[in-house]
């Protein structure tokens, strides 16, 4: 997914000299070509995320189309006030790119788990929040975010959900699998677990619709309500706390529309830090976010 973003940004930079990548001293090997090709459109701000964000913001205020780039929580939480007061309040054209969403860096410890970022970025006025599920989608949405302009947050994870390629439209949900017994909304690469769960449940005669919510904000309320209303049983799945992110956004939409649902369940992390490290697949299993656990949760709600 990271390479797909860099490929899209490279194309944009070639066509538009205003494009400026302000790096937080990360991306070893991945950015080499970009740095060599566009020395006047790249700067390494060093290990100083507050200043990285401020440089991007000041650059945007003077005509740049700025991108900040780092991993995990560094380009979001470390410089949250710069994002709020400087980027968002001035509606500056800054796109924040974080590599390593969710448990992508599962062995590196809690500092490197980006598991509250969606909720926090979503709370910022004017911020667009996007979490692609596949590399091809990361590429397309990078281009669409460029067309829309910042402030924006692009959460890149290590996932490759393997969903069929097709049209993706910023701000619109994407149905990836049809079904009418239940709907599962997912965001980011964890879509792969949802697809596998739906496949397993299909063998038991349960049709689960899968809807990819790559754009958490602005939320496609109409698309969410249509799927929720047609299926009646609603589930959300995210590699993130259940509060304030995808689950929170879908719950708000359903509640405000006073939808009568047969069941509603958010799958994600609760109000506690993970107590162990491990690779992404391991941590998904440990927190009941893997395909088998997701299938079990949905089955339990339908069969009880």
């Amino acid at each position: 997914m990271r390479e797909a973003f860099v490929r899209a940004l490279t194309e944009l930079a070639a066509d538009d000299e205003r494009v400026l990548l302000v790096n937080g001293d990360l991306g070893f090997g991945v950015l080499t070509d970009f740095i060599q090709r566009f020395p006047n459109q790249y700067v390494n701000a060093g290990i100083a995320e507050q200043n990285m964000t401020a440089i991007a913001c000041g650059s945007a205020m003077t005509g740049a189309r700025a991108y900040t780039y780092s991993i995990g929580n560094f380009p979001t939480l470390r410089c949250l006030e710069q994002l709020r007061n400087d980027v968002c309040y001035h509606h500056s054209d800054v796109t924040v790119v974080a590599v390593g969403g969710g448990f992508s860096y599962g062995q590196l410890g809690v500092s490197h788990f980006a598991t509250e970022d969606l909720a926090i970025m979503r709370a910022l006025p004017g911020m667009t929040v996007v979490a692609p599920s596949d590399p091809w989608q990361a590429y397309e949405l990078t281009r669409q975010l460029y067309a829309r302009g910042g402030p924006a947050y692009l959460r890149i994870d290590k996932g490759a959900a393997g969903a069929r390629k097709g049209e993706v439209q910023l701000g619109k949900v994407r149905e990836v699998r049809s079904g009418f017994d239940a709907v599962l909304f997912t965001t980011g690469g964890i879509l792969s677990e949802g697809l596998a769960a739906a496949e397993a449940l299909a063998g038991e005669g349960i049709g689960v619709r899968i809807v990819d919510v790559h754009t958490i904000k602005p939320l496609d309320v109409e698309g969410v309500l249509e799927a929720a209303g047609q299926c009646g049983r609603v589930f959300t799945l995210e590699e993130h706390v259940v509060s304030g992110g995808l689950g929170g956004a879908v719950a708000e939409a359903c509640a405000e529309a006073a939808l009568s649902l047969r069941s509603f369940r958010r799958m994600g992390l609760g109000d506690a830090f993970p107590d162990a490290v491990g690779d992404q697949a391991y941590l998904r299993r440990r927190h009941n976010l893997d395909a088998a656990s997701v299938a079990s949760t949905i089955r339990g709600a339908i069969v009880h």
Binding site: L20, N51, A54, G58, S59, T62, E81, N85, D86
Partner: protein, 274 residues
């Protein structure tokens, strides 16, 4: 030619009356930077009040946003908007917040209020303007207490490394911060040496001497960012406010307001038709 001495006096009157009318703090901070702001807006900054968004303009960032009343006053005096707007400062429904804000206020480039933000943004402006081949310059006013913020030094390191000769920071060094003396809180000395060590050319001037200030601003370094440490007196111009921590927060009301304005050459105690 604008008489910057006269402009500074007018800014001080505005600051005191705005803080009094609106009931806002930070009158001492506004008085502290009045001469710096008068010299900048009185001729140094290349700006056009009729075209506040003119791309060729110099950029000014007030990082110590709590002294915003003085900048609002300077913009009004220069004709960016009508002086009557100043009367809404700090009041319900106003655009003129206690900390400087750009929303609906022509001429304000950047909203600040949380300390430690302005230099990074100004540095980003200078970096991008230089990258695009522009001749615009960026001036940023920092408070001394603000230099406690780590983000100031992140920006200082970046600007020095990038040799941003189009960037000038002016430090309002009045040696008082929110609740005490700078030297008793986190001592900044040797202050000039710190900026030099970060790759800046540093000059130290009397922050109330207009010739000193003008000359410091007119000779920016040709190959690195410039830091002007301006020795100032908080509350300058009103004797009983000068160098008093109390006047960081206290609102001039009643007899104190009358006495302050009298020192600035205005007798507000007189009936309007006298």
């Amino acid at each position: 030619m604008i008489d910057t001495g006269e402009l500074a006096l007018r800014l001080r009157r505005h600051v005191v009356s705005m803080c009094s009318r609106g009931g806002s703090s930070h009158v001492g901070s506004g008085l502290s930077i009045a001469d710096i702001i008068a010299v900048l807006y009185g001729g140094v900054l290349r700006v056009d009040p009729a075209r506040p968004d003119w791309n060729g303009r110099d950029r000014f960032v007030l990082s110590k946003g709590h002294a915003g009343a003085c900048v609002y006053a300077a913009l009004a005096e220069r004709g960016f908007f009508d002086s009557s707007v100043l009367e809404t400062h700090y009041s319900n429904g106003s655009n003129l917040s206690g900390h400087v804000s750009h929303k609906g206020v022509p001429g304000v480039e950047v909203s600040t209020g949380s300390l430690g933000h302005g230099l990074g943004i100004g540095t980003g402006m200078a970096f991008n303007l230089k990258r695009m081949g522009g001749k615009q310059r960026v001036f940023v006013v920092l408070g001394d207490g603000e230099c406690d913020e780590g983000s100031v030094w992140e920006a200082a390191l970046f600007a020095g490394h990038q040799n941003l000769e189009n960037l000038c920071v002016i430090i309002d060094y009045n040696k008082l911060q929110s609740i005490g003396r700078v030297s008793d809180t986190l001592n900044l000395e040797p202050f000039a040496a710190k900026w030099r060590a970060f790759g800046w050319r540093v000059s130290r001037v009397d922050g109330h001497d207009h010739d000193d200030l003008r000359s410091a601003f007119s000779e920016l370094s040709a190959n690195c960012p410039t830091c002007v440490i301006a020795d100032t007196v908080k509350g300058r111009g009103v004797s009983f406010m000068e160098n008093e921590v109390l006047w960081h927060y206290r609102v001039p009301k009643g007899d104190e307001y009358i006495a302050a304005m009298l020192e600035l050459g205005v007798d507000v105690a007189l009936p309007a038709n006298a």
